[in-house]
Each structure stands twice: as C-alpha cells, then as structure tokens.
Symmetry: C2
Subunit: 101 residues, 2 copies
DNA sequence: AATTTGCGCAACCGAATAGTTGCATTTATA
DNA sequence: TATAAATGCAACTATTCGGTTGCGCAAATT
C-alpha cells in the first residue's frame, strides 16, 4: 500500500474530515458543505482516507455514508508512544499505576 | 508557518530520522549513512524538521549536531487524544484513576 | 417517463515534494 | 600553507498533490 495513515493525517482538510466523521457518519455532499472546496475535492480526500482504512463506506440508496474507523489511529498512537516518556513524566506514573492493577 | 508537525511526520524517511535522533543527537553525515540517499537529501529533511521545531541544532566546530525535541510530539498526541476513547476503554480507566489522585 | 440528485471517475493544471548534482564556505588536518 | 572534510545553498528534474471542470450512471422525485 502506497499511502499510510501518516500521509492521511498530513493534510488539514483530511484531519477536519476525520474529526467530523468521528462525530457522525456523513455523505460526501454533507461533508463538502463544511469546506470551501468542491464535492469532488472532498471525495478525493475521502478516497485517500478509505485507501488506508481510516474510513469505511456504507451505501444507502444513492447516498454513501462514510464512517470513521478509530482503530486506525492506534497506529499513530503506537508510533508516538515511544516518545511519550521523553516529554511528560505523567505517563510514567500512569504506567506504574497500570502495573499495580 | 507553512509546515506543521503532521506534515513533518508524513514522510517515512523523516520518521526514521526522528527515531534515530531520539536515541542520540547526530550530524547530517552520520544520519545519511543510515539511508540510501545523498547527504543533501537528508539535509533537506532535517531542514523541514527544523522548520517546525522537531529538531534543534548545536554547532560543534564544523559539525552540526541535530537534537530531537520531543515536546513537539505533544501536538500530535493531543490531536490523537480525542479519538483514544473510541478505540480503547483502557484509557478511560486511566482517566478515572487520574481523577482519583 | 422525464428530471433532479448524489456520487464516482477521468482529464487537466499549477504548486509542492523528494530526489539529484554542483559549488562555495568554513573548519580541521597533513 | 595546502588539502581534506562537513555542511549549507542553489539549480534542475520527475513525480505527487490538491484542486478544478466535465461527464456518465444509478437512484430518487415529479
């Protein structure tokens, strides 16, 4: 796969789309209303998000509802994870708490 | 600023550079040895990372050591944060624990 | 049945990207 | 002092990106 999640979230418009879809599934037209670009431009972003499984689609008649797949964000989180202790000790405390459970 | 941290981590080579620099500060030449590209290409990536404060430089004679600035990763983490509860309940437990402290 | 709506797909365009090579400058070394 | 090493900067190139417009098709509406 050529595109990965890091490429997907690199674009501000795509991050906005993700945020919107996290609140509720939407159609391309509904999404496009939130931006100053054409529906086709939004559709291209959706396509990129779909390519790396950040969103999934669900057809309903002639409409297509796109759903946010939160699990994919885990990949980013796991990469960030290794740096977390370098910037904040709070998470070390959390790790200790977890180990005690 | 045109480039942001999300753009910085979009490129696989730049993520590798970040990972290397997180272990220890290095010079462009030393970094370039880890990749199949020219030193100049690596320097370009470093420049982008420097532009958005992911790395800082420290001159030492004719060598320049680049240091990783972990704090910048916080910005990514804070954006991911809002999705965390959507994929994993473990972090909700953690939040509860924190509130009890 | 005719028309409107929602959508994907393709072609095109200017700007940015990631790489290259070549060169100038400063610092270390012989 | 002459040379080698480390780096940044500029010019060039092929590719990708984010956007546009135009189109065709299937589903809803009239």
């Amino acid at each position: 796969m050529k595109r990965d999640i890091f490429h997907a979230i690199a674009d501000p418009t795509r991050r906005a789309i993700i945020t919107l879809l996290a609140l509720q599934a939407m159609t391309p037209n509904a999404l496009a209303e939130h931006f100053n670009t054409s529906r086709q431009a939004v559709s291209k972003h959706i396509q990129i998000l779909a390519e790396c499984d950040v969103v999934t689609q669900k057809q309903s008649g002639r409409e297509i509802y796109y759903h946010f797949n939160a699990k994919k964000m885990k990949e980013v989180d796991e990469w960030i994870e290794r740096f977390r202790q370098l910037w904040d000790d709070k998470f070390n405390q959390l790790d200790d708490l977890l180990n005690d459970l």
